[in-house]
Symmetry: C3
Subunit: 132 residues, 3 copies
């Protein structure tokens, strides 16, 4: 298992990590198989979406914050329940296909670490399973 360290810039952000993940794949010599990305945090997540126009990510954050407000009568004392809920909606992991040591993703797709209670230092676990 490999670990990436990611610094997130603010309370809610989608940090693009495609090139960092691709670099680990190349450095490790991972050729052909599936790659599991796993976020070991309960107020962060991982998602795949458009990385061309930054307004897309801005709109995802805008609408998510509207649907799951920071304050909404929650009981959890730490005050970050919205972040926990978003973590479960976006999910803690992603599965990617690797062929010829390259991530097989769509032309407009990028991988993002979703930060919902930042800014913080986050970890991302990468586990590769090769095809036999």
């Amino acid at each position: 298992m490999q670990i990436l360290e990611i610094r997130t810039p603010k309370r809610v952000a989608f940090v693009p990590i495609t090139s960092e993940v691709q670099s680990v794949v190349a450095e490790q010599g991972w050729r052909d198989g599936i790659l599991t990305l796993y976020v070991p945090h309960t107020t962060a997540g991982i998602t795949i979406n458009e990385n061309a126009d930054p307004d897309v990510v801005r709109d995802i954050i805008y609408e998510t914050n509207k649907l799951i407000p920071f304050e909404d009568g929650y009981q959890h004392m730490e005050g970050n329940s919205a972040a926990h809920i978003k973590s479960s909606v976006f999910g803690a992991s992603a599965t990617l296909i690797v062929e010829n040591s390259r991530l097989i993703i769509g032309t407009w797709q990028g991988i993002f670490l979703g930060e919902f209670d930042g800014p913080r230092h986050r970890k991302l676990f990468l586990k590769f399973i090769p095809t036999p």
Copy 2:
């Protein structure tokens, strides 16, 4: 990796693809392992839900359209921000168990490609990892 081509019928639709996926599993002789389904698009997704009563899928679309309206003060100029948001909520991939060359899914479960900005031609990537 195998690729399925899927034509979607309208703006928002859940297209049942269980039998197409099962056919690839059989044709490829995939016996025992896990199968990753991956959508290389940022305005589509994949989900597993009831395939018996079509009203279930209709209700999922109805409620999702209500929660994430087509127009809601988004900034992305292409006008399909709702589709991008839905893509992240449903997710770009699914992991399925295969045994004896059959998908191991529940009695009422079907696999659906979620179209959120159609009608279009979509691709679905299938990558199988066998148990040793």
Copy 3:
């Protein structure tokens, strides 16, 4: 493939299953690889979130019930459309990393079976793929 049987206590609940899953990993002697958890039901799901303060799970249920009401003009005759929608939002599967026969999850993370139309008896499928 291994199967866990889980009894859910009420209509909507997140049942902690980390120790049950860890026990299967140990009993089966699964050492190093990835573990797919799969729920073969269309009104349940699986998620990873905080297992320290039970208020977190309570807040997730509270907010999810608010966003996706039990009654909302749905057409599906069984009256459990909200449960189907939640199942797709949380997802039917989770992928976990295993090393040295231990689940590699974050300090505050726990695995939960999400029940959205209980109480019921549910099944959870576990499929392990070892690294070669």
